[in-house]
């Protein structure tokens, strides 16, 4: 019936809007998921003279957290990263575009949650990993395959939703 058409269309629209409320339009799936972690070989912040490449972390799942000392949001997730590190998660840092080289001083001051930090001064490794901003966090499994990615600060909520389910059963 013609007269009910506007209401019917609106009801369908309402349904979509309701579903839409629970979706995040900014969350774009990373094309890197399911692919091997891009290789790099970068100096280690904590141990001058040594280099780190993702292959060295193989064997158990690990996290790569891309951050920078100039990034305020990174400071916001820092307490949670400390918590993660304390609970035994293997957290590696990618110290991204830190032209002022403040990372070591900053970590000494606020605490270092990372096993180690790879120093990516010019941001090239970040480009290979598809980093668009900081902070970003990748989950890499024991075989060196990227399993999850989060743009923005990590939090308990994000962790339980995106990362914890993937780690369960694999042992972290």
């Amino acid at each position: 019936m013609k007269r009910w058409l506007p209401f019917a269309v609106f009801a369908v629209l309402l349904g979509f809007l309701f579903v839409g409320l629970w979706l995040d339009p900014r969350e774009v799936p990373s094309p890197f998921i399911g692919k091997p972690a891009p290789a790099f070989s970068l100096p280690v912040l904590e141990r001058p003279g040594q280099t780190f490449s993702p292959d060295q972390a193989r064997g158990r799942p690990w996290l790569l957290n891309v951050w920078a000392p100039w990034c305020r949001t990174c400071r916001k997730e820092h307490p949670f990263l400390m918590q993660l590190a304390a609970s035994g998660v293997r957290l590696y840092g990618l110290n991204w575009q830190d032209q002022a080289r403040e990372a070591a001083d900053l970590l000494a001051e606020i605490g270092n949650p990372y096993v180690l930090n790879a120093v990516d001064h010019d941001g090239r490794a970040g480009i290979d990993w598809g980093v668009t901003g900081v902070p970003e966090t990748f989950l890499i499994d024991a075989d060196g395959i990227i399993r999850a990615k989060h743009s923005g600060p990590l939090s308990e909520r994000v962790w339980n939703r995106k990362f914890a389910p993937l780690l369960q059963g694999k042992g972290s």
Binding site: W4, D24, P25
Partner: protein
């Protein structure tokens, strides 16, 4: 103390809205005059209390009361006072409060000016507005309290988003909201007509000037928004087909269709059901626009998942207000439609075409805006719909619409003839054809789309001239005695033509250069020579900036200096590009400072934007036309002679 006062005033306003949304209905149903009369003091009281709440919030902003969470999140001690004031509506909470204030303002204006209306209709109309107000005030009070305190009190605020610190943003949101909310009046009239089963054409005459006025505000709001984007986003774009913009374009398209269908309903008593539907649709789309922006469903300004309460509340409000009115519409759907009493070539048929094309354009914009949401909700992944879609589908819809704009006013009501129309417009047509070739030729080459755009714009202008000449003959040679409604239409259509000219020329003939400049380097663009004289540091009130000095020599030999800036805001550390413009009738020169490349070198972007100013000038003309039409003596006289029933 002041914020608590504001909060309290808001709650009182909510209670008054409940009164306004219930008792007048009961009065109208039972014929109780004193219950119906409650609407007026309730509406005026509501305006006073929401005004008080709004003033309290503005006071907290102006006095830097950072113990108020909203102030702490959106203001800063170094923020200049004018932006502290505009920060009042710069946040979600403040903007919803502004929404309520606007609604109360429209309602109060209606109570004052609607005395001549039949008492039941007046009571029902104000009752509907009261119910809408209940919904929005409850939303603010329950989920978006702008007066929430913050403990411990921060030493300073987090500053207003630097993008919003601009003259265009001072007026854009109030204008836009005035438009959105203004459609509530036509909506309330339509619902009152449906509720009272008085579906004659009378309500169309009452609703028409209000709708026109709302449309004027919405037009200005959209134009200001576009002007702001042009100046502030740093690369001279003026429309992005962004969900936020589409959210304001959809009610505008529905409102434009409504203006034209109201004309038919008022003058000829036709299209009644359709006009009712459009009145509901225009306001429904305003609400939908508010929802789309405020919930973050499409453009996640605030990650929505953090606060589902707000989105759910507005969605519920949408369901009740729009769903309820569409159900009422279906239920009271006039059984006996008025048979079409007009010929194939008549003003009615042209306005019908206008409505069909506007409705199609509206559906197109809506589909493009919501498509990503549809696919995502159905699990088909993420897509984004951008300018290529909108350009491709809207040009074929707007081109015939613009062609008909020139013909509509020249065609008589009832029955006209093609031969007569062709005869009257032959010179306008020929003139437009000549200009369609000549104007693009002077701008650097003929392109099909440029020729089409110029043809349509000049066709509207010349067709308007034909109409003016005919009206002048009919009125015995005096243009001054023509009614304002006629002038309003002519001015608004001319404004549309000016917008079309601006869009056509700037999108076809703009040029840009992206260069690295050292001190003393120059770049040539569209006959201008721009010389980089160096950049120096400068401290603004709440930012520090690198300011470049650019000496420009125009094609006519005159020279002037532009100072584009790269700013860094103190509170947030956010960087902003503040472009420098030289505005002219024939076009703008736009210089934007990019990155510092070391030493004295900077990356610089320069744009030449021919006729871009016509876009906003045309928008202002359209609004002026609307104002003229809304102030036509006919409505004032009609109101005066129409004693209470």
């Amino acid at each position: 103390m002041i914020p608590e006062l504001g909060h309290f005033a808001l709650i009182v306003a909510l209670l008054l809205a409940v009164v306004q949304g219930t008792l007048p209905f009961v009065g109208a149903q039972t014929g109780n005059a004193s219950l119906m009369a409650v609407a007026r003091p309730a509406a005026l009281g509501q305006l006073a209390f929401i005004g008080l709440a709004f003033a309290s919030l503005a006071y907290s902003f102006l006095t830097n009361d950072f113990s108020v969470k909203n102030v702490a999140s959106n203001s800063f001690s170094q923020l200049p006072p004018v932006y502290r004031l505009t920060a009042t509506w710069g946040s979600h909470e403040g903007s919803m409060l502004l929404w309520c204030l606007m609604l109360a303002g429209w309602t109060a204006a209606l109570t004052v000016l609607s005395r001549p209306l039949p008492a039941e209709i007046r009571a029902r109309t104000l009752g509907v507005l009261g119910l809408v107000s209940v919904g929005f005030l409850a939303f603010v009070v329950a989920t978006s309290n702008p007066f929430e305190r913050l403990l411990p009190v921060p030493a300073d605020g987090r500053d207003l988003n630097p993008l919003l610190q601009d003259a265009g943003m001072v007026l854009h949101p109030p204008m836009l909201y005035m438009g959105y909310v203004g459609f509530s009046v036509a909506f309330a009239f339509a619902l009152a007509a449906l509720l009272g089963d008085q579906l004659d054409a009378a309500w169309a005459r009452w609703a028409r000037p209000w709708t026109t006025l709302a449309w004027v505000f919405l037009t200005l709001g959209i134009a200001l928004g576009s002007w702001w984007a042009y100046r502030e986003l740093g690369w001279g774009g003026w429309w992005f087909w962004d969900p936020t913009e589409n959210a304001s374009l959809m009610p505008w398209l529905a409102g434009t269709a409504l203006l034209h269908s109201l004309a038919v309903t008022e003058r000829r008593g036709q299209f009644r059901t359709w006009t009712l539907f459009l009145s509901i649709a225009a306001f429904a789309l305003s609400l939908l626009g508010t929802f789309l922006i405020r919930s973050g469903v499409l453009s996640s300004v605030h990650a929505f998942a953090n606060d589902p309460a707000r989105g759910l509340f507005i969605l519920g409000l949408l369901a009740v207000v729009i769903g309820g009115s569409l159900l009422l519409y279906a239920w009271r759907f006039p059984r006996s439609g008025t048979p079409a009493a007009f010929g194939w070539v008549s003003r009615e048929s042209l306005l019908l075409a206008n409505n069909a094309l506007l409705a199609a354009a509206l559906a197109t914009v809506m589909l493009g805006t919501l498509y990503p949401l549809f696919l995502d909700a159905l699990g088909f992944g993420k897509v984004s719909v951008g300018p290529p879609y909108f350009d491709a589908v809207l040009v074929p819809l707007f081109a015939p619409l613009l062609f008909l704009v020139a013909l509509g006013p020249l065609t008589p009501w009832g029955q006209g003839s093609v031969a007569d129309l062709a005869l009257r417009t032959r010179w306008a047509f020929a003139g437009a054809l000549v200009l369609a070739v000549a104007v693009p030729f002077t701008q650097g080459g003929i392109r099909p789309l440029a020729a089409l755009g110029v043809f349509l714009a000049t066709w509207i202008l010349l067709g308007g001239g034909v109409g003016l000449a005919a009206a002048r003959r009919r009125s015995g040679g005096s243009l001054g005695s023509l009614p304002r409604g006629f002038w309003g239409m002519q001015v608004a259509h001319a404004g549309l033509a000016v917008v079309v000219l601006g869009i056509t020329l700037v999108s076809n003939y703009q040029s840009e250069r992206d260069v690295r400049m050292n001190v003393g380097d120059h770049v040539d663009l569209a006959g201008h020579r721009i010389v980089f004289k160096g950049a120096t540091g400068r401290a603004g009130p709440n930012y520090v900036a690198d300011r470049a000095t650019m000496e420009v020599t125009a094609p006519d030999g005159r020279s002037f200096t532009l100072y584009p800036e790269k700013r860094k805001y103190n509170a947030t550390g956010v960087g902003m590009t503040e472009a420098a413009l030289r505005t002219g009738v024939l076009g703008d020169l736009y210089v934007s400072l990019g990155e510092h490349l070391g030493g004295q070198a900077w990356s610089v972007r320069v744009y030449h934007k021919p006729f871009v100013g016509w876009l906003w000038a045309g928008g202002a003309l359209m609004a002026l036309g609307g104002l003229l039409a809304a102030s036509d003596r006919r409505y004032r006289r009609a109101a005066a002679t129409e004693g209470p029933a």
